[in-house]
């Protein structure tokens, strides 16, 4: 059974979570929704907070991060589902033979951007931004998710520049997807 935060802890946690969510979503409505869901998951018993383990504001930010990350994941899956529907509609019924269908499928997957080809396209789009290239190489070469400080150790690039490289990679990825869609 988790601990119950005090009123002051809830205020501090809500404020911290809102500051985080606003910075990420840039939208008051979306930020409030994410923070609300994070707190609901606490009193619904989906998440447990233990005072001895972590401060409540840290817990609240972590729970909100999880909610926003899950929303993004749902959107990615929705996008993938739409791409699959397009393939089914455009290719699946038009190809004459099984071999034709396979070839058409491979082309379509490449066009729609399988994750691997999407990463290759991202790599190509970076140009001469060495930090971003190193960060991407480090991320692709490890077997677990890395925080900025870990990437800094992996690449020898200062953390501040890793943040900027991450931003550039994220921006390029969004632009590539926007162009494709």
């Amino acid at each position: 059974m988790g601990d119950t935060p005090t009123k002051d802890e809830v205020r501090a946690g809500y404020q911290a979570a809102m500051a985080f969510a606003m910075a990420v979503t840039k939208s008051k409505a979306r930020a409030e929704e994410a923070v609300q869901q994070a707190f609901e998951s606490l009193y619904a018993g989906v998440r447990e907070w233990r005072r001895a383990k972590v401060a409540f504001d840290v817990f609240a930010i972590g729970a909100t991060r999880s909610i926003i990350s899950n929303e993004r994941k749902a959107k990615r899956e929705e996008r993938a589902s739409k791409a699959a529907e397009i393939f089914q509609a455009d290719v699946g019924t038009q190809a004459a033979s099984a071999e034709d269908r396979t070839l058409a499928h491979a082309e379509e997957v490449q066009r729609l951007g399988g994750a691997g080809s999407e990463l290759d396209a991202l790599d190509a789009s970076i140009g001469d931004h060495e930090d971003a290239r190193e960060v991407l190489r480090c991320r692709r070469g490890t077997d677990e998710p890395l925080k900025a400080a870990e990437i800094a150790r992996c690449t020898g690039i200062p953390v501040g520049r890793v943040y900027r490289a991450n931003e550039l990679l994220s921006d390029h990825l969004k632009k590539l997807r926007a162009r494709r869609e």
Binding site: V10, M22, G116, L119, R139, E167
Partner: protein, 137 residues
């Protein structure tokens, strides 16, 4: 070193800003967070009011264990076992009725030869039955 799945790498890139913002906000003091929210046009009094409403909800229903995923699973297992046992008992009880008689019961023995009195009754016309031992010399 084993490489990550490309989809995971993409997810990491997409969520990198979450980690960065998390680190940044965690490094701030409560006053700095408040100032940042005010700069974004959010009234601190409104933030407190919403936080207080959530606190009241928590007080009304304090965070507890997570029975949603554990207890019902146990209950489901018990119900499942009971249901399987009941079905098995029903099948056993109904088996004799469900299986045809010629399969369920052994074939009857051939009928015994009729007795003399029965033969007499059959042969009511006075003639001796062919199989009767009484008429034999």
């Amino acid at each position: 070193m084993p490489k990550r799945n490309p989809e995971d790498v993409l997810k990491d890139i997409e969520d990198a800003d979450l980690d960065e913002e998390m680190d940044r906000v965690l490094a701030m003091t409560p006053q700095q967070r408040r100032a940042e929210l005010e700069a974004a046009g959010i009234d601190p009094a409104e933030v407190h009011a919403k936080a207080d409403a959530l606190y009241e909800k928590m007080r009304a229903k304090p965070p507890g264990p997570i029975p949603l995923r554990t207890q019902p699973n146990r209950a489901r297992v018990v119900i499942l076992v009971a249901a399987v046992a009941a079905i098995a008992a029903l099948v056993v009880a109904l088996m004799p009725r469900l299986v045809p008689n010629d399969v369920a019961t052994p074939a009857p023995n051939p009928p015994p030869p009729p007795s003399a009195s029965a033969s007499d009754a059959i042969a009511g016309d006075g003639s001796a039955p062919a199989h009767s031992s009484r008429g034999a010399p």
